[in-house]
């Protein structure tokens, strides 16, 4: 093969081909019907505005160095170095009533294998009101014992599994098990990536509760080389005493994605910890009441938050890629902002739902 010039054409050939690949669809404004079917649509006005914003940012931040825009610290770990941004947000954490959850759950006889709603009604009329009462029942005694052992001896993940198995995974009682945790256990996670799977995660956003404040830690890749260290730093947040992960759509996206990247680098796998996916609980709570259940829509409709200069999450890859290609840090600004707001809204929404489920009455 004519090695003289063929490879020279090849790089640009692939660049051209890959540039045209987009993992979302741009739809006409107000085409709620089109938007309803897929998560991967961007309204045309948002699309154009974002592109305009990208151009402006590029122009404004030409030759502005990274550290002049982002003031953070370097984090060193066994996988290398990465860049960390920290911010704090005050937050009202609802006061929870673990006893409310426990008493509600104790009255849920359907947690026992073989008991459906009809049997439950029948049992109640015979005086079996709680799971403990069932210990006197000749037939259900054995199963009730298993349930009680789990409820009193198991960790929140096992209790979640039990409830999720007997009810739906999005059942309020499943969320209720979060009330068994201390606020400091929660780890809110949201990642930004170069696309839908098998590409680097470029920004990890983690929220933790410290002194009743929400601390947002963001690990932003200055180059792809920092992904391993950022993964490592993120894992660090999940290695607490009894961490409980909170995400929005993380069961389908963030967690499989992170697992995939860990496997990619041969860094092992994620430990199994309780995971509350707020999307599932939101769906159950607001289905048919709100037109959209995307995080950005819920934060407006439920939390009353309006974002300024936000970019559609689907367009993050384009912004990051512009940075990667040119070294211009401007495009990273809205990406970091977007991610931070996602973490904050996630935490707010979680506490909102948790308050409804097991707040003090």
């Amino acid at each position: 093969m004519s090695a003289t010039h063929a490879p020279a054409r090849i790089g640009s050939l692939w660049q051209q081909r890959i540039k045209t690949m987009r993992e979302y669809e741009v739809v006409r404004d107000g085409n709620v019907f089109g938007a309803g079917f897929s998560n991967n649509v961007v309204f045309s006005s948002d699309y154009e505005q974002a592109h305009h914003q990208l151009d402006m940012l590029m122009e404004k931040h030409q030759d502005v160095p990274f550290h002049a825009i982002f003031s953070g610290t370097e984090v060193f770990n066994e996988c290398g170095v990465c860049f960390s941004l920290k911010s704090r947000q005050s937050l009202k954490i609802p006061s929870l009533d673990p006893d409310r959850f426990r008493s509600e759950i104790m009255e849920d006889l359907t947690l026992v294998h073989g008991i459906g709603p009809r049997t439950q009604t029948r049992l109640r009329s015979k005086g079996f009101r709680t799971l403990s009462d069932l210990m006197q029942h000749p037939k259900f005694r054995e199963y009730a014992h298993d349930v009680l052992t789990c409820l009193f001896g198991g960790d929140s993940a096992e209790i979640m599994d039990l409830i999720g198995w007997r009810h739906a995974k999005s059942h309020p009682s499943v969320l209720g098990t979060a009330g068994l945790h201390e606020p400091e256990d929660y780890v809110f996670l949201d990642i930004e990536t170069l696309g839908l799977f098998s590409r680097p995660v470029v920004l990890f956003g983690i929220g933790t509760i410290e002194n009743s404040n929400l601390e947002v830690h963001q690990y932003l890749l200055r180059d792809i080389d920092e992904e391993q260290a950022a993964l490592m730093a993120t894992l660090g947040h999940l290695s607490g005493d009894r961490p409980a992960l909170v995400t929005f759509n993380g069961k389908s996206f963030d967690i499989p994605y992170v697992s995939d990247r860990l496997a990619y680098y041969g860094m092992g796998s994620l430990a199994r910890i309780p995971h509350f996916d707020v999307l599932h609980f939101s769906r159950r709570r607001w289905k048919n009441q709100l037109p959209s259940l995307r995080l950005a829509a819920l934060e407006t409709d439920i939390l009353g938050i309006r974002r300024e200069d936000d970019i559609p999450g689907q367009m993050v890859p384009e912004f990051y890629e512009a940075y990667l290609r040119t070294g211009n840090c401007g495009p990273l600004i809205p990406v970091v902002e977007h991610n931070k707001q996602d973490v904050v809204s996630l935490a707010l929404l979680f506490f909102y739902l948790l308050g409804e489920t097991c707040g003090r009455l």
Partner: protein, 775 residues
């Protein structure tokens, strides 16, 4: 069983008698049995006994070699029991090692289904917990995890593996225990497609190495001229060859049947094929008929049913079409009915050519030369299982290639096998797979060079400078925005699928080119022998709406092919001929369609369809003006000469640039462009180009001289399949002029007296367009 009756009929019936130009009979052969170096374990031994299987010599040979850890390629003919030759040692492996896994790769879904049934039956009988399952695009999401974790034999296809590799973490258990990779029908992986598969297999091996396994390969192919070289290129590993067929055969009758024996041909190949099919089916021969197009498959079925209905409705019901585009359930039903004997005649495109085990078939009808001897022999091999007499009939088209075979039967029967060519060094292909590999696991410069060949470093730095991969402490990481596996298409076909709906129900799907050809507005569409008319074709939503209709005509579109030069990248002059390399745009447009009743044209309607264009790379040659003069003075046909020269050059492309003939397109014209110059174009059949014309351009003088020798030294009079006839000519090999072709090619390799050295700068950057003879 009445093969002899049909043979007698062919000799007695006056219509048939004239058309039968040759019957080649091969005598029956007795089985040759073999012995295994070590007898199989109890379970497998009783499997063989219960099924009354005595292993043939080639099966034993294969099993002995696989057991000793060798990679094996088996090239015995269709129906010789290849499947057992690899299933047996694989099951032994699964029995010995409770964790062992095996991956079976099939090129089509139909074949996957068939293999699944065989494996399930074997697993059930032997009690070896293989838990075989298919994992492909049709596998529901809900079943995937369980298959990955529990199945010890997974059947899939290359396209699925291409997608799956980046999810290797989910496949950890499978990949870390992978002991066997079985690649059946491996001869399909040749040319550019084969080169893609070769790189895909390297990616697969790389992931296996990562998980600590290094599986053994078993390949099964049609008979090839270069099996060991092919296997080595496809996998990068050394192989043992298992060739000598030990299975028995009944007497085989291979009939050459020429509807155009009188030079006129009162009835078309379709009609004649239909008659033969009905004759076979009436005589109770289970018959498989192969046609060159989907439409032909449907028409032959429709007409054969009409004819058969005159005898009995049941006979008519026993004939069915089978082709790609049918929904999976439909195909399953046909396959099942063929096996249980309810179907007597099945008319297929080459989807069935591959060894799907449909039980015993008595006769095969091949309507039109399928393009390679490999396919011809595969198709004919479908007749005559179980050692009974069998019949194969090759029905010719009017085109020169088919007619040549009719007039030279001995040439036909002694034709050698094709070479299956693979190029693992094509930088266009390698670079795409490097991107995919970098998205699967970081690419390490030391360890991964073994998989990606001599341009590894060069391509890495090229991809890095285009920001598609980034260097990290663990190696090169893919950092492109799109998904790498989606950017690389193994078959090079850009995907836009049209859905054919009848009253809102999905009838079938087809790609754009086919939809334009067969589902344009007004087209009569055939599906399962039912007739539909196309009411609407929506180009935006890719939807075609049809309704049932009852007409006795069908439609046939007319295509125009144009080529325009977009940009000249390089030029050179070779012996007075101006040669160039650059970007071209090939345009195919359907402009009108014919309405036909049987073989009569009853109308012509205009069509309003946008052209289908694709940009690719081409080289082209403008012979010196002297040459043109010489051809004219000698009273030869310039157009036929150029067309012949084009075919000869393309015929040799596989030899020079490592591809398959089907990877390349060509076009020639006696008066191309605004200067009306005689021109021959040869281009890559892939969007964007795939480096074939580019490589050929570098070695044009060699190409010219070998093409010249090929045509000059061919002993035919007016051209033949060995020199200037092309099996894939869009103009039915017309016009062709062998003498003119020799003259043109001779001038291209000889220094002429007036050696003009004008470049092509005059046309540079200027697009010109002209129709011509399309390959």
């Amino acid at each position: 069983m009445a093969v002899s009756d049909v043979i007698r009929l062919l000799g007695v019936n006056p219509v048939y008698r004239n058309r039968v130009v040759h019957i080649e009979i091969s005598e029956p052969e007795l089985p040759r049995f073999g012995t295994l170096e070590v007898p199989p374990g109890d379970t497998l031994a009783s499997y063989l006994t219960q099924h009354r299987i005595h292993l043939y010599s080639h099966q034993c040979d294969a099993i002995n070699r696989v057991r000793s850890g060798k990679n094996v390629i088996i090239t015995t003919p269709t129906a010789s029991g290849k499947t057992l030759a690899f299933n047996l040692p694989v099951f032994e492996g699964l029995e010995r090692d409770r964790e062992a896994r095996a991956l079976y790769l099939y090129p089509t879904k139909a074949l996957s289904n068939d293999q699944l049934a065989t494996l399930e039956q074997m697993a059930q009988f032997t009690g070896i917990s293989a838990r075989p399952a298919i994992y492909d695009g049709d596998t529901p999401q809900s079943k995937r995890a369980a298959i990955r974790d529990n199945s010890r034999v997974i059947i899939s296809n290359p396209h699925e593996i291409h997608q799956v590799l980046s999810w290797h973490a989910k496949w950890r258990l499978f990949f870390s225990n992978l002991k066997f990779i079985v690649v059946d029908e491996a001869h399909r992986y040749r040319g550019v497609f084969g080169s893609h598969i070769a790189l895909l297999l390297r990616r697969l091996m790389r992931v296996c190495h990562f998980y600590g396994s290094s599986p053994q390969f078993i390949l099964s192919t049609a008979t090839l001229a270069n099996p060991l070289e092919f296997a080595g290129k496809l996998t990068g590993l050394p192989f043992d060859l298992v060739a000598g067929d030990g299975s028995p055969h009944g007497r085989k009758h291979f009939v050459l049947f020429n509807p155009f024996y009188d030079g006129i041909g009162e009835r078309s190949t379709y009609q004649e094929t239909k008659d033969l099919l009905v004759s076979c089916v009436k005589d109770n021969l289970q018959t498989l008929c192969f046609t060159s197009s989907r439409k032909m498959a449907e028409l032959v079925t429709l007409w054969a049913r009409d004819d058969a209905r005159r005898s009995s409705a049941r006979l008519a019901e026993s004939i069915s079409a089978y082709r790609a585009g049918y929904l999976p359930e439909e195909r399953r039903i046909i396959e099942r009915q063929l096996k249980d004997g309810r179907l007597k005649g099945v008319v297929s495109t080459n989807a069935l050519e591959l060894g799907i085990d449909v039980g015993s078939l008595d006769a095969v009808i091949i309507a039109g030369y399928p393009g390679t001897m490999m396919s011809t022999r595969q198709q004919a091999g479908r007749a005559g299982r179980k050692g009974d007499d069998s019949l194969a009939i090759f029905v010719a088209f009017a085109n020169p290639l088919d007619q040549y075979f009719m007039n030279h039967p001995h040439h036909f029967f002694s034709r050698s096998h094709e070479h299956a060519i693979i190029d693992t060094g094509n930088p266009y292909i390698v670079s795409g797979h490097l991107l995919c590999a970098a998205a699967e696991l970081p690419l390490c410069e030391d360890q991964d060079r073994q998989f990606f060949g001599e341009y590894f470093y060069e391509l890495l730095s090229e991809l890095a400078s285009s920001d598609l991969i980034r260097k990290t402490s663990r190696g090169w990481v893919y950092s492109g925005r799109g998904r790498a596996a989606d950017a690389v298409r193994l078959d090079g076909i850009p995907g836009s699928t049209f859905r054919i709906l009848c009253h809102g129900r999905l009838l079938e799907t087809m790609d754009r080119a086919q939809a334009y050809r067969e589902a344009h507005k007004g087209a009569i569409m055939l599906h399962q022998g039912e007739t539909y008319v196309v009411n609407e074709m929506d180009l935006e939503t890719h939807t075609v709406r049809v309704t049932e209709t009852d007409v006795d005509y069908y439609t046939q579109p007319l295509k125009e092919v144009d080529l325009s030069v977009i940009e000249i990248l390089e030029t050179r002059t070779i012996h007075g001929a101006r040669c160039a390399f650059g970007d071209v745009e090939v345009t195919e447009q359907y402009t009108s369609y014919k309405i036909k009743r049987k073989d009569t044209i009853i109308g012509l309607e205009p069509l309003d369809l946008p052209p289908i264009t694709f940009r690719t790379k081409a080289f082209w040659v403008i012979p010196a003006p002297d040459t043109e003069q010489r051809v004219k003075h000698a009273n030869l046909d310039l157009a036929g000469g150029l067309h012949g020269a084009e075919h000869a050059i393309i015929a040799l492309m596989p030899l020079h640039v490592m591809c398959d003939r089907w990877d390349i397109g060509g076009l020639s014209s006696p008066a191309f462009g605004e200067n009306c110059e005689p021109t021959v174009f040869v281009y890559d059949g892939y969007e964007g180009g795939i480096g074939l014309a580019e490589k050929a351009y570098e070695i044009l003088p060699d190409m010219f001289s070998s093409a010249h020798e090929l045509v000059r030294d061919c002993r035919c009079d007016e051209g033949c399949p060995s020199c200037i006839y092309s099996p894939k000519c869009g103009n039915d090999n017309q016009p062709l002029d062998k003498e003119a072709a020799v003259l043109i090619l001779r001038d291209l390799c000889t220094v002429t007296e007036k050696n003009e050295c004008t470049g092509l700068s005059a046309e540079s950057g200027q697009a010109f367009q002209q129709s011509g003879y399309f390959l």
